[in-house]
Amino acid sequence: MSDTTPAPLCGNPDCRIAVDGRCVEGFTAELSSCPFYGRAPAEATDVEPDRERVARGPTLPAGEPLSAFEAGLIAAAGETRVMAFVGANDAGKTTLVAAFSEAFQRGRFADHVFEGSTTLFAFERVCHLARAASRRAVAKTERTGRASPLGFYHLALALPLEGRRVQLLLADRAGEDYRGVADLPGEARNFLEMLRADHVTVLVDGERLSDPTQRHNVVGETRLVLEAFKDAGVLRLDQQVHVVLTKLDLVQASAGRAKAEAAYDRLVAEIQDLLAGVVGRVGAFRIAAMPTTGDLPIGHGVDALLRAWTARSAPRPFIVQSAVQSPRRFARYVGPQSTTIAS
């Protein structure tokens, strides 16, 4: 660009294309597609308002992950699936959650239709570091901090082809907590979401599995954590366990691909043996929720996982019989059997 070329103009006050040549909306390669490019910068009224001037009205829902109590209210209102996630830090838990938000922003997904969410605000926060607006060159998702309490992301979905509606509650907990269970198995009984979960999704970090220095630790840690939950009696026969290989794009691109995939297949078989007669079913899924290599589409494999989560299940007793009776109401309540879509 010559010195006499005028600086590019952008109506988005957060964009610094005139400084670093990068479109914050992600259209650097095709500026004409950006809705703000070429426009005058936003007027002063677009600037963050003086907060003192915004009069306080009624208290509104925060849009943050739901507490167990709030999740319980949703579960009481209709057919609900509670998803617990087991996995170490960076295994891809939060990325998977973000992938669902992203999928429905593009339209119907896996024959499911978005009907609402009380945690849209929280979804957006976790998506940020994977978006062009973050100005990152490589996508990542915000890690759930160890100090963060257990929370639930929420999606209200319809399955019009089946005439059903389902509320999804996706548990969010720091990865360090799961590693901690392997160290102190007695802690397993405090995992409220495991006591209530309809589906336990075990995330196996494909990137680490592809690394010969990490592969055996991944397998060993996963096995130990599940042993702890099994021995604590928090798993149930009406639960399904899904063993999910994450970051499939990195697995397929690595030199250790064959070893990684073989290790994953062996791990699935071991878990099936370990949990036979303990849970209803152990399934296998391979996903790339937020691929970085560009070889797989965003959300690869996530559709199959969603279908498994929302599949019709056998009627469950109103009060779940569990080896562990939690004092927390959310952990015990099952909710109505189903909600059909009115014609």
């Binding site: 509104l60 978005f114 009380t118 570091l129 965003i298």
Partner: protein, 281 residues
């Protein structure tokens, strides 16, 4: 009867321009409309007259600032001669933005929704922020043999959220258990429609393509019982480049363009008539 209509939308979504054009349209009687002007009654029309004057001159409207909101009223009649008084609070877009960003509701908005105001949601059709993922952006750069540029990472702010996410959450809050807005009907005004009409989409199809999350929500159980979308150009073009042409129109009302179900081409009252479930001609 008195009907309240909450004109909701983010800053720059065309709310004030709509009011200005509407006031001119009904008081001038230049063009055939579903709802007709019922005359002046006791009240203060200064704000509406100022807006309409600027609109006729082809001048940009001054954005409604926080704290300067006005409640404007119009006496209108429907096809059966039934009179109604339509109240429109001209609320700053910042107040609606605060619903999403600060989880705070302006007391005037809360009062109106609590009293059963029907919602007319404004969206600027040409400044929709879509979610744009690093993965997609990098794939495009690679296809052009360019490398991703590393910049200083920015922290998340609610302002960065895609437009449709903000709109869905805004509606969820307005129609939800705290604010209790009237969920019977919601109208969606896609403003600056002249900038996107070359895409040859109906307003509903445009919504499905550019705001798919919003459309799913509107169609779903937690959305309104009925909704319609209208493409509206209350100005008739871009003031910067089209002002001379717009001022040349013999009848200013004919600058206005409305696209939607059962709409006359210049009739801004059509969305209101539908929203209020009034008898139409």
């Amino acid at each position: 009867m008195t009907a309240s209509i909450l004109i909701a939308g983010l800053p720059g979504s065309g709310k004030t321009t709509f009011l200005a054009a509407l006031w001119h349209l009904v008081t001038s009687r230049e063009s055939s409309t579903e709802l007709t002007f019922g005359g002046l009654e006791q009240g203060d029309y200064a704000h509406l007259n100022i807006l309409a004057r600027r609109w006729r001159e082809g001048s940009e409207q001054i954005r409604t600032e926080l704290g300067s909101e006005k409640l404007v009223s119009m006496r209108l009649s429907d096809a059966e001669g039934l009179e109604l008084r339509a109240d429109f609070p001209d609320v700053s877009g910042e107040a609606f933005r605060a619903l999403w960003e600060e989880r705070n509701c302006d007391p005037m908005v809360a009062d109106l929704t609590g009293q059963g105001a029907r919602i007319l949601l404004f969206v600027h059709a040409d400044t929709i922020r879509a979610p744009r993922w690093i993965t997609e952006a990098n794939a495009e750069l690679r296809s052009m043999n360019l490398q991703p540029v590393t910049g200083e990472e920015t922290a998340w702010t609610p302002r960065a959220a895609p437009t449709q996410v903000v709109l869905v959450d805004m509606l969820q809050l307005l129609l939800g258990p705290v604010l209790k807005g009237d969920s019977g009907r919601v109208g969606v005004i896609l403003s600056a429609w002249d900038l996107v009409e070359a895409e040859e989409l109906t307003p509903e199809a445009f919504l499905a393509e550019r705001l798919p999350l919003l459309k799913q929500y509107l169609d779903g159980r937690h959305g309104p019982r009925a909704w319609r979308a209208y493409g509206v150009s209350a100005t008739g073009g871009e003031l910067e480049s089209d002002r001379d042409r717009l001022l040349d129109e013999d009848l200013p009302s004919e600058r206005i363009k409305v696209t939607g179900v059962d709409c006359r081409p210049h009739d801004l009252t059509a969305p209101l008539a539908w929203l209020l479930d009034r008898k139409v001609a």
